[in-house]
Protein backbone atom coordinates (compact mmCIF):
# COMPACT_ATOMS: atom_id res chain seq x y z
CA UNK A 1 0.00 0.00 0.00
CA UNK A 2 1.36 3.42 -0.96
CA UNK A 3 2.30 5.68 1.94
CA UNK A 4 3.32 9.24 2.60
CA UNK A 5 6.99 9.34 3.58
CA UNK A 6 8.49 11.86 5.99
CA UNK A 7 11.97 12.40 7.29
CA UNK A 8 13.46 12.70 9.74
CA UNK A 9 11.14 10.96 12.19
CA UNK A 10 12.68 12.79 15.13
CA UNK A 11 14.64 16.02 15.34
CA UNK A 12 16.18 17.70 18.34
CA UNK A 13 17.57 21.17 17.89
CA UNK A 14 18.49 24.21 19.89
CA UNK A 15 16.53 27.41 19.65
CA UNK A 16 17.70 29.82 16.95
CA UNK A 17 18.88 26.93 14.78
CA UNK A 18 17.40 26.09 11.39
CA UNK A 19 15.50 22.85 10.79
CA UNK A 20 14.01 21.28 7.71
CA UNK A 21 11.49 18.52 7.22
CA UNK A 22 10.90 16.53 4.07
CA UNK A 23 7.76 14.92 2.74
CA UNK A 24 7.18 12.61 -0.22
CA UNK A 25 3.46 12.25 -0.93
CA UNK A 26 1.72 9.28 -2.46
CA UNK A 27 2.48 9.15 -6.17
CA UNK A 28 -0.07 11.04 -8.20
CA UNK A 29 -1.48 13.04 -5.31
CA UNK A 30 -1.68 16.64 -6.42
CA UNK A 31 -2.65 18.06 -3.04
CA UNK A 32 -0.13 18.20 -0.21
CA UNK A 33 -0.60 19.56 3.29
CA UNK A 34 1.68 20.40 6.19
CA UNK A 35 0.15 20.29 9.67
CA UNK A 36 1.54 21.05 13.09
CA UNK A 37 0.22 19.12 16.06
CA UNK A 38 0.99 20.18 19.60
CA UNK A 39 0.71 17.40 22.16
CA UNK A 40 -2.89 16.95 23.27
CA UNK A 41 -4.37 19.04 20.46
CA UNK A 42 -5.69 18.37 16.99
CA UNK A 43 -3.54 18.97 13.91
CA UNK A 44 -3.37 22.59 12.73
CA UNK A 45 -3.04 23.23 9.02
CA UNK A 46 0.04 25.28 8.14
CA UNK A 47 0.07 25.19 4.36
CA UNK A 48 -1.69 23.50 1.46
CA UNK A 49 -0.23 22.93 -2.00
CA UNK A 50 -2.00 22.08 -5.21
CA UNK A 51 0.80 20.74 -7.40
CA UNK A 52 3.57 23.30 -6.97
CA UNK A 53 1.29 26.19 -6.04
CA UNK A 54 0.38 27.32 -2.55
CA UNK A 55 -3.39 27.20 -2.10
CA UNK A 56 -3.47 28.40 1.50
CA UNK A 57 -0.71 29.45 3.85
CA UNK A 58 -2.73 31.81 6.02
CA UNK A 59 -1.75 29.93 9.20
CA UNK A 60 1.94 29.67 8.35
CA UNK A 61 4.13 31.96 10.52
CA UNK A 62 5.94 33.41 7.56
CA UNK A 63 8.53 35.28 9.57
CA UNK A 64 10.20 31.98 10.41
CA UNK A 65 8.47 29.21 8.46
CA UNK A 66 8.74 28.51 4.75
CA UNK A 67 7.45 25.70 2.58
CA UNK A 68 8.12 24.72 -0.98
CA UNK A 69 7.10 22.09 -3.46
CA UNK A 70 9.19 23.05 -6.43
CA UNK A 71 8.33 20.27 -8.87
CA UNK A 72 4.90 19.53 -7.50
CA UNK A 73 6.01 16.26 -5.95
CA UNK A 74 7.96 16.23 -2.70
CA UNK A 75 7.97 19.13 -0.30
CA UNK A 76 10.16 20.74 2.33
CA UNK A 77 9.08 22.69 5.39
CA UNK A 78 11.72 24.88 7.01
CA UNK A 79 11.88 26.73 10.29
CA UNK A 80 14.52 29.40 10.80
CA UNK A 81 15.14 30.25 13.55
CA UNK A 82 13.47 27.59 15.67
CA UNK A 83 11.82 28.69 18.91
CA UNK A 84 10.89 26.71 22.00
CA UNK A 85 7.20 26.94 21.09
CA UNK A 86 7.84 25.15 17.80
CA UNK A 87 8.22 21.83 19.60
CA UNK A 88 5.48 19.68 18.09
CA UNK A 89 4.72 16.91 15.62
CA UNK A 90 4.85 18.06 12.01
CA UNK A 91 2.58 16.03 9.80
CA UNK A 92 2.46 15.83 6.05
CA UNK A 93 -0.62 14.61 4.20
CA UNK A 94 -1.59 14.18 0.58
CA UNK A 95 -4.75 13.57 -1.37
CA UNK A 96 -5.89 13.11 -4.93
CA UNK A 97 -7.38 16.23 -6.42
CA UNK A 98 -10.61 14.40 -6.97
CA UNK A 99 -10.60 12.22 -3.86
CA UNK A 100 -12.93 14.42 -1.93
CA UNK A 101 -11.21 15.10 1.34
CA UNK A 102 -9.82 11.70 2.27
CA UNK A 103 -6.22 12.60 2.98
CA UNK A 104 -3.42 10.18 3.74
CA UNK A 105 -1.04 11.20 6.49
CA UNK A 106 2.61 10.41 6.95
CA UNK A 107 4.12 9.27 10.26
CA UNK A 108 5.19 12.78 11.16
CA UNK A 109 8.39 14.40 12.39
CA UNK A 110 8.64 14.96 16.13
CA UNK A 111 10.53 18.22 16.71
CA UNK A 112 11.98 19.11 20.08
CA UNK A 113 13.50 22.56 20.48
CA UNK A 114 15.79 22.97 23.48
Amino acid sequence: EAEVAQSPRYKITEKSQAVAFWCDPISGHATLYWYRQILGQGPELLVQFQDESVVDDSQLPKDRFSAERLKGVDSTLKIQPAELGDSAMYLCASSLETSGGSSFFGPGTRLTVL
Binding site: Y33, G42, Q50, D56, E97, G101, P107
Partner: protein, 113 residues
Protein backbone atom coordinates in the same frame (compact mmCIF):
# COMPACT_ATOMS: atom_id res chain seq x y z
CA UNK B 1 -15.61 26.18 7.57
CA UNK B 2 -18.20 24.76 9.93
CA UNK B 3 -17.04 24.42 13.51
CA UNK B 4 -17.47 21.04 15.13
CA UNK B 5 -18.10 20.04 18.72
CA UNK B 6 -17.28 16.59 20.05
CA UNK B 7 -17.08 15.07 23.52
CA UNK B 8 -13.57 15.37 24.87
CA UNK B 9 -13.41 11.75 25.96
CA UNK B 10 -15.38 8.52 26.12
CA UNK B 11 -14.86 5.18 27.82
CA UNK B 12 -16.09 1.83 26.61
CA UNK B 13 -15.49 -1.89 27.06
CA UNK B 14 -14.38 -4.48 24.61
CA UNK B 15 -17.17 -5.88 22.47
CA UNK B 16 -19.46 -2.89 22.91
CA UNK B 17 -20.72 -0.61 20.18
CA UNK B 18 -19.43 2.93 20.50
CA UNK B 19 -21.22 5.96 19.13
CA UNK B 20 -19.40 9.28 18.96
CA UNK B 21 -21.54 12.27 18.08
CA UNK B 22 -20.29 15.43 16.46
CA UNK B 23 -22.27 18.67 16.31
CA UNK B 24 -21.86 20.98 13.33
CA UNK B 25 -24.74 23.44 13.48
CA UNK B 26 -23.32 25.75 10.83
CA UNK B 27 -22.67 23.10 8.19
CA UNK B 28 -22.95 24.48 4.66
CA UNK B 29 -24.73 22.94 1.69
CA UNK B 30 -21.52 21.77 0.03
CA UNK B 31 -19.83 20.49 3.20
CA UNK B 32 -19.04 16.83 3.72
CA UNK B 33 -18.41 15.13 7.06
CA UNK B 34 -15.18 13.23 7.48
CA UNK B 35 -13.87 11.20 10.41
CA UNK B 36 -10.25 10.38 11.19
CA UNK B 37 -8.64 8.11 13.77
CA UNK B 38 -5.28 8.87 15.36
CA UNK B 39 -3.09 6.66 17.51
CA UNK B 40 -0.32 8.15 19.66
CA UNK B 41 2.75 9.21 17.70
CA UNK B 42 1.09 8.45 14.37
CA UNK B 43 -0.60 10.56 11.73
CA UNK B 44 -4.41 10.55 11.50
CA UNK B 45 -6.01 7.83 9.44
CA UNK B 46 -9.12 8.35 7.31
CA UNK B 47 -12.07 6.30 8.57
CA UNK B 48 -15.20 7.36 6.76
CA UNK B 49 -16.86 10.22 4.93
CA UNK B 50 -20.44 11.10 4.15
CA UNK B 51 -22.85 13.77 3.03
CA UNK B 52 -26.24 12.56 4.23
CA UNK B 53 -28.15 9.55 5.59
CA UNK B 54 -25.94 6.55 6.29
CA UNK B 55 -22.55 5.42 5.08
CA UNK B 56 -20.99 2.11 6.03
CA UNK B 57 -17.60 0.58 5.34
CA UNK B 58 -15.61 -2.28 6.80
CA UNK B 59 -14.51 -0.18 9.76
CA UNK B 60 -17.43 1.99 10.81
CA UNK B 61 -20.81 3.50 10.04
CA UNK B 62 -21.65 7.16 9.78
CA UNK B 63 -25.17 8.36 10.50
CA UNK B 64 -26.21 11.81 9.33
CA UNK B 65 -29.73 13.10 10.06
CA UNK B 66 -31.73 15.02 7.51
CA UNK B 67 -30.79 18.45 8.89
CA UNK B 68 -27.08 17.48 8.82
CA UNK B 69 -26.38 19.52 11.94
CA UNK B 70 -24.83 16.53 13.62
CA UNK B 71 -23.35 13.18 12.76
CA UNK B 72 -22.60 9.98 14.63
CA UNK B 73 -19.66 7.70 14.09
CA UNK B 74 -20.52 4.16 15.09
CA UNK B 75 -17.81 1.61 15.84
CA UNK B 76 -19.22 -1.92 16.17
CA UNK B 77 -17.79 -4.26 18.80
CA UNK B 78 -14.74 -2.24 19.75
CA UNK B 79 -11.49 -3.84 20.82
CA UNK B 80 -8.57 -2.54 22.84
CA UNK B 81 -6.87 -1.52 19.60
CA UNK B 82 -9.64 0.99 18.91
CA UNK B 83 -8.33 3.15 21.75
CA UNK B 84 -7.45 6.35 19.91
CA UNK B 85 -8.49 9.94 19.25
CA UNK B 86 -11.32 10.37 16.77
CA UNK B 87 -11.70 13.62 14.85
CA UNK B 88 -14.80 14.91 13.10
CA UNK B 89 -14.16 17.36 10.27
CA UNK B 90 -16.60 19.30 8.15
CA UNK B 91 -15.70 21.08 4.96
CA UNK B 92 -16.22 21.70 1.29
CA UNK B 93 -14.35 19.02 -0.60
CA UNK B 94 -15.03 20.15 -4.12
CA UNK B 95 -11.95 20.34 -6.31
CA UNK B 96 -12.10 24.06 -6.90
CA UNK B 97 -12.47 24.73 -3.22
CA UNK B 98 -9.51 22.61 -2.28
CA UNK B 99 -9.60 19.85 0.30
CA UNK B 100 -8.66 21.94 3.28
CA UNK B 101 -10.21 20.52 6.41
CA UNK B 102 -9.81 21.83 9.94
CA UNK B 103 -9.26 19.48 12.86
CA UNK B 104 -10.81 20.20 16.23
CA UNK B 105 -9.79 18.71 19.55
CA UNK B 106 -11.17 15.26 18.84
CA UNK B 107 -12.67 12.62 21.13
CA UNK B 108 -10.34 10.41 23.14
CA UNK B 109 -11.84 6.93 23.20
CA UNK B 110 -10.56 4.54 25.84
CA UNK B 111 -11.54 0.92 25.42
CA UNK B 112 -11.16 -1.15 28.57
CA UNK B 113 -10.93 -4.95 28.92
Amino acid sequence: LAKTTQPISMDSYEGQEVNITCSHNNIATNDYITWYQQFPSQGPRFIIQGYKTKVTNEVASLFIPADRKSSTLSLPRVSLSDTAVYYCLVGDIRDNAGNMLTFGGGTRLMVKP
